[in-house]
Symmetry: C2
Subunit: 212 residues, 2 copies
């Protein structure tokens, strides 16, 4: 029974890694769509987000089945409850990235980014992609050094998010309301994406150390 | 053991109702703060959101303890897993409403709403408060008529959310970028708040009927 259970936990882990890889692909394509007004990348991001949502639901069903058949307690139970939450975060990351892709799609053939904010968004998109890649590594290896790196990179995203507002609210901002709306929402989505990676790393750290 | 378990499920239900009442209070105070530039209401909303977050964490711990001691299966297990998710939604609703309060606080003594959008936001805030109240009733009585009403009211919020963008992106929009940012984010928070009520009602319906 214990061997079966260990096998099942491995399966949960590998599905979480797969979901994280999905979120990484979605944010990569969504960033490309957003930065380069690329509609076909946007469509790929939207389709991948749907498929990631289905995979998250499948994982949830697997976890519920394991809870029912194995009646785990203590740390094993916490691992499975955390898996449900991480699955929700990974699904949400795909969904947030797909909203970024949708903005690009909506503004095509125009760009959703004014030139003055391009470097800021390039950096934000790069860090979100890096964070998604770190989420994959963390779920594969549960290395707490990665958890600490994630914390630091999230702070960089928060600074860039605030910088977007500083630029938009400065007296020399002369772009139209459409740009203002697009960059406000896109920045919010990038920032929330990073928050979810932090949530995931907090859960992995908790399972390793018992401390939040 | 079964009697103890039924007692525990009752406790979970009453804590979910309490969290929903908390979310209702937070969105009521946040709406007042946002519509009337009332900083003391904003502070109350922010403090309540912190306390709701703690209550949600306490509920999660209770659910994990019940899972560990009762090893529920089938519908009982699904009720508890759903409770974890509803707890997350109710906590998030408080957090989203507190972001609305924070916008009001940030713009004080000015208003975050231009007059042209005041009626739209009044309606949106009223429906979100109504939705929170319906979430309380639904969690108390698991009445599926309420679940259907929630669906319809959420559609009304989506229309108002789109209306905000229509107004902001119209050629006669002449407000400054600060207003554009504020109303874009506030509208998004109101809309996400309503989405979470729909998520909760879908879970209650599923537990009652076995169908999504």
């Amino acid at each position: 029974m214990r061997a079966v259970f260990q096998q099942e936990l491995k399966e949960v882990q590998s599905r979480l890694v797969e979901l994280a890889r999905g979120a990484q692909k979605i944010v990569t394509k969504a960033s490309g769509a957003f930065l380069n007004s690329d509609v076909s990348l946007a469509d790929e991001a939207l389709a991948l987000a749907d498929s990631n949502e289905e995979k998250a639901l499948d994982l949830d069903e697997l976890v519920i089945r394991i809870l029912a058949t194995q009646s785990p307690v203590a740390r094993d139970l916490r691992i499975l409850v955390s898996a449900l939450r991480m699955s929700a975060s990974l699904e949400r990351m795909g969904s947030l990235a797909s909203h970024i892709a949708a903005i690009a799609r909506y503004r095509f053939p125009g760009s959703a980014i004014p030139e003055s904010l391009r470097p800021t968004f390039e950096e934000m998109a790069a860090i979100d992609q890096e964070l998604a890649s770190k989420a994959v590594s963390l779920l594969e290896n549960t290395d707490l050094d990665i958890a600490r790196e994630i914390q630091a990179r999230d702070e960089a995203v928060d600074l860039l998010h605030r910088k977007v507002f500083d630029v938009v609210l400065a007296s020399d901002w002369s772009e139209n309301a459409m740009y203002t709306v697009d960059v406000t929402l896109a920045s919010r989505y990038f920032e929330r994406f990073a928050d979810h990676v932090v949530d995931i790393s907090a859960k992995v750290s908790f399972l390793q150390t018992g401390e939040w």
